[in-house]
Structure formats: structure tokens, C-alpha cells
């Protein structure tokens, strides 16, 4: 009898401590999210009070209306355009490179692969100034094109690495069979490999999109009014002339995480691979 009781105590203890640990962790990571969302419904009175209002007593949609009406339209669509274009470009350019790195064995392919990867680790500040001069010289400030290309630069390295991993997993027999039947490499690539790696392309595209969506420094420097993206709106609300506008900023931040949230929930499986550049599958 005593054995059963002590066994039960151990089992309960072991699992409870895991549950407690997980609850604490979830609280730590979840509370700021809850705070952000609940703050977005707060009335100006309750933005900054002490003690803080964990549950708003007055609700308003005013913050969202301000954000959407005054600012939102251009910023949101600019972000959408820049992110979509750079994602598509990164996928296109990246898949070509990834295929050659995956299938063609040539001297120095590893070095090339790593050189491409190292681009992702480049601090944006290092190229911000030259790019600013360059873009200004070409009179392309506040234009989508330079920003899209810079985002593509950072995205393409991630795309190459992720896609190479995905391509490596596709067995070569199908391609070899097709080549025996007379397809050349290009057709094999476009008709066989691309469709087979569609999930990989989607996952890679998602990571690229999120990176571009969240990027601030380049957008801040290279755009002014017409091409400004969402993170710039955050900067303006946080560092405006009148100090931080807490209400609208909560509304904006809540809205801005929605795309990422949706995506994350759908793509949980591939997260580890995407984050470690394919090192962990």
C-alpha cells in the first residue's frame, strides 16, 4: 500500500512540476501579448494609470479606428507590396541557386553556399549609408524598388539555404528518369522539382515574407511618405513629437502581428528548420 502511495506521489510531483514550469513559461511569453491586445481596447484614461489596468473597464475601438483611418492604408499596402515582391524574387532567384547547389557537384560549392549564407548575417547598418547615397543619387528615395531589392538580398540567402535542404530531400531518381527520357535540366527543374517541393517553397516564402514585413531600418532610411511600411508607422507612433501614443500603438501592434500569427499556427511543423537555416530538420 505504501509503495502505491509513494509511487503516486512521485508521478504527481513529476508531472505537476512540468505543468507548473510550462504555465510559468507561458505566462512569461503570453502576458506581454495579452497586455498588448488588451491595451489596444483601452480608453485614453486608462493608457497610463497606476496600478495598471489589467482588464480594461472601458472599452473602445477608437485606437483601431485612428490607426486604420489616419495612417493605415498606405503603410499596410506598402508593406504588402514590398514583402510580396521581395518574397517572390527571393524564391525565384533562390530556388535556381539552391537547385544548382543541391544537384551539381562542383568545386567550391560549399564555399559558395556559405558565402551566400553569410549575407544574411550582414548587419544592415553596414550598408545603410552607401545604399542611401546610391538611392538618392538615382532619385529613387521613397520608391518601392530599392527597398524590395534590399529585402531580396537578405531573403535570398535564407531562401537558398532552406530550399537547398528541401531539394536535397527529393530523391534524384525521378529527375534521372526524366533526363533519360530526354528532358533537359531546365525542364526537369520547372516541371518536376518545383512542384514536388511546393511545401518547401511555401515555408521558405513565409519566412521571407515575415522578415520583409518586419524589417525597419532600411525602410526607414529609404522611404518617406509614399512607400513607407508598417514598422515605420510604429516608429512614428513611438518616437513622435508628442511622445509615445500608447493607444494607437497598441492597436497597430496588434494588427501587425495578425499575419504572422495566422502563418505560425498553420506552419508549426517547419519552424525549427526555418529558424536554424535548415540545420535542424
Amino acid at each position: 500500500m505504501r509503495i502505491f502511495r509513494s509511487l503516486a506521489r512521485v508521478w504527481v510531483q513529476k508531472n505537476i512540476s512540468v505543468y507548473i514550469g510550462l504555465i510559468v513559461t507561458t505566462l512569461f511569453f503570453g502576458f506581454p501579448l495579452y497586455w498588448m491586445i488588451s491595451s489596444s481596447f483601452k480608453v485614453r484614461l486608462e493608457w497610463l494609470i497606476s496600478p495598471p489596468a489589467y482588464w480594461p473597464s472601458l472599452y473602445t475601438l477608437g485606437n483601431y479606428i485612428t490607426v486604420i483611418k489616419d495612417y493605415f492604408s498606405p503603410y499596410f499596402f506598402n508593406s504588402l507590396i514590398v514583402a510580396s515582391c521581395s518574397t517572390v524574387l527571393a524564391l525565384a532567384i533562390g530556388s535556381l541557386a539552391a537547385y544548382s547547389l543541391s544537384r551539381f557537384s562542383f568545386r567550391g560549392s560549399e564555399k559558395v553556399a556559405f558565402w551566400i549564407l553569410s549575407t544574411r548575417m550582414l548587419p544592415p547598418v553596414a550598408i545603410v549609408l552607401p545604399m542611401f547615397f546610391f538611392v538618392q543619387y538615382l532619385r529613387l528615395i521613397d520608391n518601392y524598388f530599392p527597398l524590395i531589392m534590399i529585402h531580396t538580398l537578405f531573403n535570398v540567402s535564407l531562401a537558398v539555404w532552406l530550399l537547398k535542404g528541401f531539394f536535397d530531400e527529393i530523391p534524384q531518381e525521378i529527375e534521372e528518369a526524366a533526363m533519360v527520357d530526354g528532358c533537359n535540366t531546365v525542364r526537369v527543374f520547372s516541371k518536376i522539382v518545383i512542384p514536388l517541393s511546393a511545401p518547401g517553397l511555401v515555408v521558405t516564402g513565409v519566412f521571407c515574407f515575415i522578415f520583409s514585413w518586419n524589417e525597419m531600418l532600411m525602410a526607414f532610411v529609404l522611404t518617406r511618405y509614399r512607400a513607407a511600411t508598417l514598422p515605420i508607422q510604429v516608429v512614428q507612433l513611438a518616437r513622435g513629437v508628442f511622445g509615445t501614443r500608447w493607444g494607437p500603438i497598441s492597436g497597430l501592434t496588434t494588427i501587425s502581428i495578425l499575419p504572422a500569427l495566422v502563418v505560425v499556427i498553420c506552419l508549426q511543423r517547419y519552424l525549427a528548420r526555418g529558424l536554424t537555416l535548415g540545420a535542424v530538420k
Partner: protein, 287 residues
């Protein structure tokens, strides 16, 4: 069938050359000049004088280095410990694991500027929940965003909140891919949990830990967005990091040569972990 890898690689190489190598080269050239766009507009060649000034006489630079290194070291240590702990918790078979993982994953997907904005509110002296929690625990309120060292810790905490999930998820995937047999054998042999952890688990996940660690070190050296929003560099430059300094010198003060020199010093610093990462990846590839 002749393979022509160069053709396939040409677009990538073109993009990297045009938007990466070319600006870097231009920046290198600029770093040898003294060129203040705000004052006299003629650039003068000064050789390595910029670098000498930075390394020998620039207090602000060294304060930045101090801040950045603190952020990197403390940040990585915090994040590894919490991340590993979380991964170990998630490895167990628990109901509602998916719920925990979903919440866990969200912070990483949020823009660093947004993270800065959220924590700027959380760290507010009077109205922020963090100080409220402290006061409930009977501790003094901390003026988080008021400078060194509180501001640096605020940055570390915000960054930890955003990126620890990355470490947790990567380590979790690594833990889940470990083979079961060694663990079963160890248990049969009577090893304690601590022994299993120290002599079996840790060595087996070492590869992933190293990759994750190097990636985080590189990213933390580059930290910009979060700092920009949280403290903007702090009162004066007390919580400033290297990237913020480079940005201000180049695009606020328009001391173009000096800023380029600074950015090359940052590049040198960041190259070190990149070289380690390269060695690691190539040794992995040989396996």
C-alpha cells in the same frame, strides 16, 4: 548533359554583388576619408585616422562596445538557459502541448520594433506592469529606461522575450530527433537523471546548441530596432549599441567617413562568430 552551375547561380551572385558587395566596398573606401556632409563638403583622405580616432579617443564607442558585449553575453546566457529549460519541459508528453507551443512561437514572429514598443509600455515607470509586479513583491520600482545599467537590462529582457522561443524550438526539435536507445540503456544501467542529462543529453545536442548560440551571438551584435524604440540609445548614449551609433553618426550627424569606419569595426567583430559557424558547418558536412 553538361552542368552549368554558374548560370543558375548568376542571379544570386548578381544580387549579392550589387546590393551587398558594392555598398560594402564603397563603405570601405569612405572609411578612409574624413567627410562631414553637414559641414564642409569636401572629402579629405585621412587613411586610417578614422580608425585610430575610434579606437583610441572615442569614449562613446567604447561605451557602446561595453553595452553591446553585455547584451550579447548576458542575453545569450539567459536565452540558452531559459530556452533549454523550456525545450526540456516541452519534450515531455503533456496534454495541451500544442497550446503551449503556439503561444511560445508568437514572439519570434513579431517585428523587433513592435517588441520594443510593447516592452516600452511594460517597463513604464509608473504605469507598467513590470514595476507594478515589483511593487507587489515589496521591491522598489526600477526606472527601466533611464540609462545604464537598467536600460541595458531592459533591452536584454525584451530581446530574451522575443528570441528565447527560437532557441526553445530549435533545441526541442533537436531533442526530439535524438535516438532513444542510449537513454534506455543508461536508465537500465541505473544512471541518475542528472547523470543522463549531463553525460548523454548535453553532448548529443551540442551541435544544435552551437549553431543556435552562434546565430544568436551574431544577431545580438547587430541589435538595432528594439534598442531604437525602447531607449533610442538611452539618455545621452548610456544604453546605445554599436548599430545605433553607426546609424546616428552616418544618418543623423552625417559624418560619413567616421560612420563607415565604425561599421567596418562592427563587421570585423561579427566576422569572428561567422568564421566559427563556417568551420562548424563544414565539419558537419564532412560527417
Amino acid at each position: 548533359m553538361r552542368q552549368r552551375p554558374l548560370l543558375w547561380l548568376a542571379p544570386v551572385i548578381a544580387v549579392i554583388l550589387a546590393f551587398g558587395v558594392f555598398p560594402l566596398g564603397y563603405s570601405l573606401v569612405l572609411s578612409f576619408f574624413k567627410w562631414d556632409l553637414a559641414g564642409e563638403s569636401a572629402p579629405t583622405f585621412v587613411g586610417l585616422q578614422n580608425f585610430r580616432d575610434i579606437l583610441l579617443t572615442d569614449h562613446r564607442f567604447w561605451a557602446n562596445i561595453r553595452n553591446t558585449i553585455l547584451i550579447v553575453i548576458i542575453g545569450v546566457v539567459f536565452q540558452l538557459i531559459i530556452g533549454l529549460g523550456t525545450a526540456l519541459l516541452l519534450v515531455k508528453e503533456i496534454k495541451a502541448k500544442v497550446l503551449f507551443r503556439t503561444v511560445l512561437v508568437v514572439p519570434m514572429m513579431i517585428a523587433p520594433v513592435v517588441v520594443g514598443a510593447i516592452w516600452k509600455n511594460l517597463f513604464h515607470y509608473n504605469a507598467g506592469p513590470v514595476n507594478h509586479l515589483l511593487s507587489l513583491l515589496g521591491l522598489d520600482r526600477i526606472d527601466w529606461l533611464s540609462g545604464f545599467p537598467e536600460g541595458v537590462f531592459a533591452i536584454i529582457i525584451a530581446d530574451t522575450w522575443e528570441w528565447t522561443p527560437f532557441i526553445a524550438i530549435a533545441l526541442l526539435a533537436g531533442l526530439q530527433s535524438l535516438p532513444q536507445e542510449p537513454f534506455e540503456a543508461a536508465q537500465i544501467d541505473g544512471a541518475s537523471k542528472w547523470q543522463i542529462f549531463r553525460f548523454l543529453t548535453l553532448p548529443l545536442i551540442k551541435p544544435i546548441v552551437i549553431i543556435v548560440l552562434l546565430l544568436r551571438v551574431i544577431d545580438l551584435f547587430k541589435i538595432f530596432d528594439t534598442v531604437f524604440i525602447l531607449t533610442g540609445g538611452g539618455p545621452g548614449y548610456s544604453t546605445e549599441t554599436i548599430s545605433v551609433y553607426i546609424y546616428k553618426v552616418g544618418l543623423s550627424y552625417f559624418r560619413v567617413g567616421y560612420s563607415s569606419a565604425l561599421s567596418y569595426i562592427l563587421l570585423f567583430i561579427v566576422t569572428v562568430p561567422i568564421i566559427f559557424l563556417h568551420r562548424y558547418f563544414s565539419s558537419e558536412a564532412k560527417l
